[in-house]
Symmetry: C2
Subunit: 197 residues, 2 copies
Amino acid sequence: MKKNLTITIGRQFGSGGREVGLKLAEKLGVPFYDKELLSHTAKKSNLGENVVEYYDEKQSIPFVPQSSLFEIYQMPMSDKVFIAQSDAIRDLAAKGSCVIVGRCADYVLRDSENVLNLFIHADMKFRIARKEEVLPGKTPAEVESHIRRVDKKRSKYYSYYTDKAWGDARSYHLCVDTSRFGIDGAVAMILDAIERL
Amino acid sequence: MKKNLTITIGRQFGSGGREVGLKLAEKLGVPFYDKELLSHTAKKSNLGENVVEYYDEKQSIPFVPQSSLFEIYQMPMSDKVFIAQSDAIRDLAAKGSCVIVGRCADYVLRDSENVLNLFIHADMKFRIARKEEVLPGKTPAEVESHIRRVDKKRSKYYSYYTDKAWGDARSYHLCVDTSRFGIDGAVAMILDAIERL
């Protein structure tokens, strides 16, 4: 592997993108950041961890119900969190190789050459089967509806903060369908791709 | 490789998708169809090869200047060609393993399990460099403009005849950026992916 490589992962909800990232990080012996990014963001900024968590991967929310007139003329908190998170991402990427899931990391690091941008997706059947396990009591139709809702949010968040389309192949270097190759198959293929860089 | 596998390739203009397909077909020892599909379509239908070629990868054109009143009430020729081409694609896929470039082949074969859908893309710099060689006398800006025009046509054609978005990772099993991995790197990665099916 190149001395310093940041692997960013965009992922459909339920596709196993987080698991792919965890396995890649383990095999490569590098740090993994998904929700782990929140404490780094809070530490690096003067924003509380609960604030960072609340606005994590949400598109700009200009007026929240509790806004005072003073706050309306300020930058929305969601944008502040995005900026703080971007700073944390650049900071972690500069420190050494790592895997970062979500948070428009591919866009944040667009000027770096030492980046491999991945998108992990899967067909709905595969994703429902994975999410049914963690959402007991829900019917497959309810699980599907939940999956579509989360993906819609991710897509909106991505297109709001970048000039690119979420899930469009042209935004990534490699996109893999885990329902076709399996989680471990995808991991092996990506490890092989990294060797080719 | 599985006994019968159709590899379909969607590709950005200038990304080397055709070259990737040719190399895959050669390595796998299976037939390759890009423009080669036109004579199969003409043979299988009662449409002339020049008609098939004229309407190849064009979205529906309802009224062409020479339309007679009689023709206006008929199916547009572009749609007839699409249907004839789809028949030819299904026919060739049923005969044995092959590589098919473009022509919404992934969508045409959507009900088949023995399909691997690929999308090949690359950054603009890589594509301009490749196309400058075959478009002598044109400035890089002119080449870029030509590339964008061809891609726009491909995108329109794909979205017209399918319910999917051209270049969206979710429409394919594997998407590879040839400007990041090179043509031969992409071929090797895809051959490896085929072994994993």
